[in-house]
Every structure is written in structure tokens, then in C-alpha cells.
Symmetry: C2
């Protein structure tokens, strides 16, 4: 099964320009038909999905590119494996920190929220 560019655009609710832009950046390389139209395979679709997921986590295209090529390269050699592991370690660390910070922020917001609700109830009670 293959897809046209607008098929994917609709599926992921993004513009065709965006998809072409990712190609400009070297993140996807779909096959071409005889006339030159882009043909996306299941694999290409998955790749696009991966990119979009990265975006949702606020990774820049540069970072996404980095991650993709890293995991795409030949992972058989020991050196490559070690590099991948180190990279993954770092990303996990970053994520952990960010999650903790967001959790803290959320708790603060919840306190504020409770505060405001209390104030509102005070007002309601005085009616």
C-alpha cells in the first residue's frame, strides 16, 4: 500500500508543504513515479509519524534528524552501539528532568486553582 502526498497530509492534518519541507531537510525520501510524483510507502509513513511525534515533544527538526540518522546508521559495530547508548542515556536524562519540572509546575497550578476556588466559594456564601 502506498500514499500520495496529500493522503499523508490529510491523515496527519498537516500541509503538503510541511511534508515537502521535511524532505528538503532530508528527513524523508519517498520514491517517485515515472512522472515524478512522490510515492510514500508504509515505511515512509511511519517515518513521518516519528517526525511528528518528535515535534509534539518540542524537539527541533535538527534534533529529530540527529536521532533518526543515529538510529538509522549501522548499529552493529561496538562503537556505534556505545554511541547510541550514550545518546539515549542523555535524552532520557533530559526527559526526566523536564517531566519533574512540569510535575512541579502542575502542582503549583493546582494549589493556585484550589485557592481561587475557595475565594469563589466565599463570595457565593456571602450572597
Amino acid at each position: 500500500m502506498t500514499y500520495s502526498i496529500s493522503d499523508l497530509a490529510k491523515q496527519f492534518d498537516i500541509s503538503t508543504r510541511t511534508i515537502r519541507y521535511y524532505e528538503e531537510r532530508g528527513l524523508i525520501e519517498p520514491k517517485r513515479s515515472a512522472s515524478g510524483q512522490r510515492i510514500y510507502s508504509k515505511k515512509d509513513r511511519t517515518r513521518l509519524q516519528l517526525i511528528l511525534r518528535g515535534k509534539r515533544f518540542n524537539f527541533s527538526l535538527e534534533e529529530i534528524e540527529e536521532m533518526i540518522t543515529l538510529f538509522d546508521e549501522d548499529r552493529s559495530g561496538r562503537k556505534q552501539l556505545e554511541k547510541t547508548i550514550r545518546y539515549g542515556d542523555q535524552k532520557i536524562q533530559e526527559l526526566t528532568t523536564q517531566i519533574e519540572e512540569m510535575q512541579a509546575l502542575k502542582e503549583e497550578l493546582e494549589e493556585l486553582h484550589a485557592d481561587f476556588k475557595e475565594r469563589l466559594q466565599d463570595i457565593e456564601a456571602k450572597k
Copy 2:
């Protein structure tokens, strides 16, 4: 205690341009000396810190502006209170979703990480 613009720039490791830009956007309004130099109070410092925290959570300056003015306005009226509560509710929801997604991503990364480590150990074992 007051601060000059470069005092704050050093404290938070940002440029003076950045601080002036926040002022352009109306996010801070420091006092001025007779000669026109910016004088930042403790309150201004706190405000700046707030902005930077927002940035760390990937909020845009527009969102930060929104939040600040919302919490700055008169919160005494019932309508205002309700608005604030609704806004907070929404932000908490957004945060919750994002945290969950990041948590999921982290777990995936950890699995991958374990995978690669195993492979590396296989190689080491064969030596």
C-alpha cells in the same frame, strides 16, 4: 535592593537584549533613573524569573503574557475569578496530557536503551 539590567542578565545568564525585548513586549516595566537607566526592583526580578520559567516549559511569550495579565488583573470579582479558574483548569489539563506523553516516550526510550545494552553485551561476551 535594586538591580541594573546587566545584573539581571548575569544572574539569569541571558542577554540584556532579551530583557529589553521582554520590556518591548510589555512583560516588565522597570523604573528609570533620572538619566533614564533601567532600575529593577525585587518584584521586577521575580517577574523576570517567572517569564524565564514559562520559557523553560516551552510557553510562548504570548502565552506567558496572557497568564501574567490574567493573574495580575483584579481577581476580586466573581467573573474574574471564574475566568481565572477556567484558564487554570485548561492549563492543568494541557500539562497533564503532556506529562503523560513524555512519560510514555521516556519508557519507550528506556526499552530501546535496554535493547542496545543487551546487544553490546552480546558482543562483549563473544570476545
